[in-house]
């Protein structure tokens, strides 16, 4: 095969097949270039850059929505670097919707001033592109690149308030921690790629099987393959550490409270939802890739151990996050720990899926898809409730210039819209029945019940999850206690919140929390979509 032929094949693959499916990422790329151009020709004096960013984000969202509508079979893009399927499209749509909401939030709360606008939105869009690569990664290289493309702009965004000490400290901690983890993960990738001879994720399981197959002749070979297997397991652990860092799972969570406290609330909100969602998508893909299609004796064990291991981590993470949140005084730090705890809940769904997917329980695939459906549902509700909470924190910060919980005293009465929004979001985060968070949690716990039939340890995880839900109630209520029951100190100025635009934004974000709880239509639609996506992935797999 000569060079021309390779080039031609490459061009055909790229232009003919891949670029079309890559359109929403391309739209974001174009927007980034546009943002930089706007800055270059000083157009940003007349045209606020957020318009460009918002427009680009909406365009990308529209393109992703079209892809969602079209559906279509699974295919591989860019010579197998990316996978294009319903699962990826759904998360792409999810991320872009979130991007639009976050841009709207930053426009309202005004965190990047006009001067910094182009920088900020460039970083935001760049990070989103990284996440979109994460959700459709089919290659270890893309896995690494996606995580890094997400992380590097995030470091800068965390330190975006340049003059503030805490901000710079948070950014430094975040970048060092992130870079360290990146190195560890890359090392893991190098080991795995070397052992298995490929970076293609869809080949991992096959190669691993090959490595262990009894046909691999000779005793010393088996000794060798045992050593290699351990190396591969180590490698996959190192890679998982990278993903766990993004998910802020214990023990890779240390960056999270510090970075969130130092970062602006808007950025914290962005990181808490978007990077988490993308990382979960990546984790699901990676786990499924690791165990492969064949339900051989080995892979069955791998499934089980992986699932149980994830379950242990999930239980520890949820417990740790909830307990550590107890004595927090800063609202963002509290929400950071709450984020950690929620990552734990969501990881339970992944654990349940891994336990179920090739187990001998009846309808195992269906139940595994149910667990994945629970994860998707949870993420969607989580998007709204967490963003709502962070948005309210940002709006209140703009007024009282504080993020300490004690300064929130009596605010619920002075800003009824924000107060009630906070009530909805926090109760939903707890998992109170009339709100979306309840159904989300219910679905995950239900899949844990199912998984318990495959491995009773999952029932332990379920019990810990249930206990955690009770614990979590108390620290969320502390915030509401401050907002509603503690009276506003004498002499403190009366806070004036206008309904437009902040209140309207809060209503817009918290309404879905209510709708996904109160009215059967929305949960039904959402879970329909989620189960379609989940079934597609599991059945393809």
């Amino acid at each position: 095969m000569n060079f021309d032929a390779i080039l031609e094949k490459l061009i055909n693959d790229t232009v003919g097949q891949s670029l079309g499916h890559f359109s929403s990422e391309l739209a974001l790329c174009v927007t980034i270039v546009g943002l930089l151009l706007v800055r270059l020709v000083s157009l940003d004096r007349w045209l606020p850059t957020y318009w460009v960013a918002l427009l680009g984000a909406i365009a990308a969202f529209g393109l992703a929505a079209c892809q969602m509508k079209q559906g279509g079979a699974t295919q591989f893009l860019f010579t197998g670097l990316l996978v294009y399927d319903q699962f990826g499209i759904f998360f792409r749509l999810f991320l872009l919707l979130f991007l639009v909401l976050v841009i709207a939030l930053t426009v309202i709360s005004g965190i990047p001033d006009n001067e910094d606008g182009p920088d900020f939105y460039t970083l935001l869009l760049g990070a989103t592109i990284g996440m979109m690569l994460m959700v459709s990664a089919n290659n270890l290289l893309i896995l690494f690149l996606g995580i890094e493309m997400t992380s590097v702009p995030s470091y800068v965004m965390v330190g975006f308030l340049k003059g503030r000490k805490l901000s710079s400290e948070a950014a430094l901690k975040y970048v060092i921690y992130g870079a360290g983890i990146a190195g560890v993960m890359l090392y893991g990738i190098s080991l795995m790629a070397g052992m298995l001879g490929t970076t293609d994720m869809s080949l991992i399981a096959e190669r691993m099987h090959l490595l262990l197959s009894p046909e691999a002749d000779g005793a010393d070979l088996s000794v060798r393959s045992n050593a290699m297997l351990r190396t591969v397991v180590l490698a996959s652990l190192l890679i998982s550490a990278g993903v766990a860092f993004k998910l802020s799972l214990v023990p890779f969570h240390f960056w999270c409270p510090d970075a969130f406290e130092g970062a602006p609330a808007e950025v914290a909100g962005f990181l808490s939802v978007a990077s988490k969602a993308a990382a979960f998508a990546l984790l699901v893909r990676f786990c499924l890739a690791l165990v492969g299609k064949d339900s051989g004796a080995l892979s069955e064990h791998v499934y089980l151990y992986l699932g149980v291991g994830l379950g242990v981590v999930a239980a520890i993470t949820a417990t740790f996050g909830n307990l550590a949140a107890y004595s927090q005084t800063n609202i963002k730090r509290l929400l950071a720990y709450s984020t950690i705890a929620h990552a734990g809940y969501m990881l339970m769904a992944v654990a349940a899926m891994m336990v179920l997917v090739n187990s001998d329980v009846a309808d195992a695939k269906l139940k595994a898809a149910g667990a994945l459906e629970g994860l998707i549902y949870y993420l969607t509700v989580y998007l709204f409730m967490n963003l709502g909470a962070f948005a309210i924190v940002a709006f209140i910060r703009n007024q009282i210039l504080s993020e300490e919980i004690k300064d929130y005293a009596g605010l619920g009465w002075q800003a009824p819209c924000l107060g009630i929004g906070m009530v909805f979001c926090l109760f939903s985060l707890v998992g109170m029945p009339p709100f979306g968070g309840f159904f989300a949690k219910l679905m995950i716990f239900k899949s844990l019940v199912d998984a318990g039939y495959a491995n009773p340890f999952m029932w332990v995880v379920l019990a810990i999850g249930g206990l955690n839900t009770v614990f979590s109630l108390i620290y969320y209520l502390r915030v509401l206690n401050a907002m509603y029951i503690v009276p506003r100190p004498e002499g403190s100025p009366r806070v004036k919140f206008d309904f437009l635009p902040a209140g309207a934004y809060v209503v817009m974000v918290t309404l879905p929390v209510l709708l996904t709880g109160f009215f059967p239509y929305f949960p039904d639609r959402l879970s329909d979509t989620a189960s379609r996506v989940a079934n597609m992935l599991i059945s393809n797999f």
């Binding site: 921690y177 652990l237 023990p251 240390f254 107890y326």
Partner: protein
């Protein structure tokens, strides 16, 4: 359904819904009008009902087969009923609740009549209610404790919104295609009546009267509901007309109960009636009777309506019809078509039937509703009190339309009434018309006289229907609506002219001050008395509408008496009452308009009403004169005959076997035969009544006060309205109070005591529970909370804030996980 039929349905629907639209807008008049001085809501109401009238009149013109109406044929071809379903409300098992329509010529006629009168009254009310057009209305009838009068914003818009709602409800009642729908609108007109009677809600008398009207009507409606239950359980449908459910044909009520030809059991009666016909037929065609020759007048009329060509067919039709009963006369079989095919029950393989007594219960039950709504004996007491409402309300709701709804329903539901029920109807009507007329003699309030006269005339209508004069009763309904609304409006004009003086003894000689009112009122009085010049001029009698209709009723009752000698009272009482009617109506007119002014102050301030009030009077008086033109052969009567139930034609025979209780319904022929005779009787009675009134109140040859003194016992009895109110007080209200007091005592003594004891025990138990809670549960919870909080705090020490330690933890974490995995995963 042809295009024309669907157009009629659309027109009537529009006429029906327009007032609802008006109501929906007007009821918020207080909000969208800048001040209470705006007439916008009222004009909207007038426009809505006016358009409704145009639509109804167009539908009437379209729907009628004019050739059949004006020609000399059998009137059943005037119009085929149109029926169908607007909207399916719901199906509860086999019970279908729907909004249906059933349109025949009676419906069209009622629509046109209601909308026309309502339009006139709306216009009249624009003038009558104009003192409400203010932001600060002073109600002089309401005395406050500080000696002043009650002030409130004017309620012009509210009046018209209620009127619109009433029109909607009334039209809905007329349009209804099933008995349940009738009931719904029946209640709706009831609530409108309640709202309008209590329009001056601050007046104690008004609010009491509204309550009374509503509660008394409930008594009748209770019977109505029982009737509905019987109908539902026995017939399985509420619809009047044949329809389909899931493409399966279901017969309507009227089809199920359709009559069959009488069997030979009553052959003798049938024979007798046909013998009379033969006699009738023997008259040579060409034999002319000189006008005024009273003896032959009846035959001549019969000749007029049945000329030679039609005679044979009419005779052929005139079979005696009766309910399809079994030999023991205990059950009535239901039909699935008009040919008398019985419905076979597929399960039990028997023919579907209903016990005869149940049919009577259903009929009497539904008629009980009519008694309440039409203020018949013994529920007549609410209507005079209802005159507390504004006069236009009395004119529209409490004389022309709503109270006539009972008669309308009796007419509409006629096929469902067994002969026994009809007899009940006739006697109820008979009692009512007499009682009310006697009270009217002594009433002095101008509106109350009219109210009693209304009750009395409604009694006539019921009587007419009860004695088999179906068309006669409804004929009177239509004519009465016109002349009675005319009289009420005229009285309203008087009341406004005299600055809300309603007592007739304070009036007198008013015709000089208000000539238009006086003479339009006179038209109404003549019409209701049934005065006429009984000679044909240009082939028609000079008579106002009331003459024709009352004549028809008296003729029916005479024929009924002829067929059933034992029920002679049903003829003589109405005849005498016709005289009484003339007496009290002329008394009213003379008292009010003739003679010398008795109260100088009232007279001096009296003035003619503005045009907006007098023009409706003139319009209505035109109709009061001409609406029944032609009498029994005129278009109005023909229209009614077009809707007449088939079996009325030949008369229905009771199924009772005993000779004494057998009831024979007079056939149309029988009524024809006695028509002229009856007309004369009625006219003589009316004239004598009128003359008597003229003597007493016109030229005062005898002082009425003398009579009053001489018959003070009777007078007091009449003034106290036959003491019905006292009777009800003793019979119902007092016992209810006693029972209520007893219940209160029981409640206070036993129930409350028990509850107090229970609550004390509950407090005790909760006190123990509290102690347990505070010491055990709270302690446990607090301990758990403390432990959790402590562990949370200790976890904070892990987060040292030093980045180097964090990085260390990465390495340690990976290592730990690796070790963990190898422990769990040993090769």
């Amino acid at each position: 359904m042809t295009a024309e039929e669907s157009l009629i349905v659309k027109l009537l629907t529009a006429a029906w819904l327009l007032p609802l639209l008006g109501f929906a807008v007007e009821v918020f008049g207080g909000y969208w009008q800048k001040s209470r001085k705006s007439k916008a809501a009222a004009l909207m109401a007038v426009a809505c009902i006016g358009c409704g009238f145009v639509a109804s009149a167009s539908a009437l013109c379209l729907g009628i087969e004019w050739s059949a109406l004006l020609g000399e044929g059998t009137k059943h071809d005037v119009m085929e009923p149109i029926s169908g379903t607007f909207y399916l409300l719901g199906e509860f098992g086999p019970l279908v609740l729907s909004l249906d329509y059933y349109i025949d010529s009676l419906t069209l006629l009622m629509f046109t009549m209601v909308t026309l009168i309502a339009t006139c009254i709306h216009v009249f009310a624009l003038g009558y209610m104009s003192d409400e057009l203010t932001d600060d209305h002073v109600d002089h009838e309401v005395h406050l404790s500080d000696g002043g009068h009650f002030h409130r914003p004017g309620r012009f818009y509210r009046f018209f919104s209620f009127m619109s709602l009433f029109c909607f409800s009334m039209l809905g009642l007329v349009l209804a295609g099933n008995i349940f729908q009738v009931f719904v609108f029946w209640e709706l007109v009831g609530i409108c009546s309640y709202l309008l009677i209590g329009f001056y809600v601050e007046r104690k008398s008004a609010s009491t009267a509204a309550n009374k009207a509503f509660i008394v009507n409930r008594v009748g409606d209770f019977g109505f509901i029982i009737g509905l239950m019987v109908i539902w359980t026995s017939f399985g449908t509420f619809r009047f007309f044949d329809h389909e459910i899931d493409t399966k044909p279901v017969p309507g009520l009227f089809t199920m109960i359709s009559r069959v030809e009488a069997e030979d059991a009553h052959h003798d009666e049938k024979h007798k009636s046909s013998a009379e016909h033969e006699k009738d037929e023997e008259h040579p065609e060409g034999e002319e009777h000189p006008e005024g020759e009273e003896h032959h007048n009846g035959e001549e009329k019969a000749e007029e309506s049945h000329p030679a060509g039609e005679h044979a067919t009419a005779e052929h039709h005139a079979h005696t019809m009766q309910l399809d009963v079994d030999d023991a006369r205990s059950v009535v079989f239901l039909h699935k078509d008009n040919k008398g095919t019985r419905i076979a029950d597929p399960v039990t393989e028997t023919e579907k039937s209903i016990p005869y007594w149940l049919l009577i219960v259903a009929g009497v039950g539904v008629f009980a509703g009519c008694i309440g709504k039409s203020a018949q004996f013994p529920l007549q007491t609410w209507l005079p009190d209802a005159m507390e409402g504004p006069t236009p309300v009395s004119a529209l709701v409490h004389s022309a339309t709503m109270v006539a709804a009972g008669v309308y329903l009796a007419g509409r539901f006629y096929p469902m009434f067994a002969p026994e029920v009809l007899l009940v109807i006739a006697y109820i009507g008979c009692i009512t018309l007499f009682v009310a007329a006697t009270i009217a003699i002594v009433a002095t309030d101008i509106k109350r006289v009219l109210a009693y006269s209304t009750i009395s005339q409604l009694g006539y209508m019921m009587l007419g229907i009860g004695v088999g004069g179906w068309a006669a009763g409804l004929f009177h309904l239509i004519t009465h609506a016109f002349f009675k609304s005319l009289m009420f409006l005229a009285s309203g004009s008087v009341i406004v002219g005299c600055h809300h003086e309603q007592e007739m003894p304070k009036m007198g000689g008013l015709w000089r001050k208000m000539p238009v009112t006086a003479f339009t009122m006179l038209v109404g009085v003549i019409a209701i008395c049934g005065l006429a010049i009984p000679f044909s001029i240009f082939g028609a009698k000079i008579a106002f509408s009331g003459y024709h209709s009352k004549d028809a009723i008296v003729a029916s009752s005479l024929a009924f008496m002829n067929a059933n000698q034992i029920h002679f009272l049903l003829f003589f009482v109405p005849l005498v009452t016709a005289g009484i009617t003339a007496f009290y109506m002329f008394r009213l007119w003379f008292y009010t308009f003739a003679g010398t002014p008795r109260d100088k102050k009232v007279y001096d301030h009296a003035r003619e009403s503005p045009l907006v009030m007098t023009i409706p009077l003139i319009v209505l008086s035109f109709f009061a004169i001409f609406v029944a033109v032609g009498g029994e052969v005129g278009p109005l009567y023909g229209l009614l005959q077009g809707s007449e139930p088939v079996h009325v034609d030949g008369g229905a025979v009771s199924v009772a076997t005993e000779g004494a209780t057998a009831i024979t319904m007079p056939s149309r022929h029988a009524i024809h035969d006695v028509h002229g005779q009856a007309g004369w009787y009625a006219l003589i009675a009316a004239v004598s009544g009128a003359v008597f009134a003229y003597l007493l109140y016109g030229i005062r040859v005898i002082d009425p006060a003398d009579i009053k003194r001489n018959f003070s016992g009777v007078h007091t009895f009449l003034v106290e309205k036959w003491r019905f109110d006292d009777l009800y007080e003793v019979m119902f209200i007092k016992p209810v109070h006693v029972i209520a007091r007893w219940c209160t005592g029981f409640d206070r003594g036993y129930i409350d005591g028990l509850l107090h004891w229970l609550s004390r025990k509950t407090v005790d138990v909760s006190n123990w529970d509290r102690k347990f809670d505070e010491n055990v549960i709270d302690g446990l919870v607090n301990w758990i909370g403390k432990v959790v909080y402590k562990s949370g705090r200790s976890l904070r020490h892990l987060q040292t804030g030093l980045i180097r330690q964090y990085v260390m933890f990465i390495a340690l974490g990976v290592l730990a996980l690796f070790v963990l995995l190898f422990v769990m995963f040993p090769a």
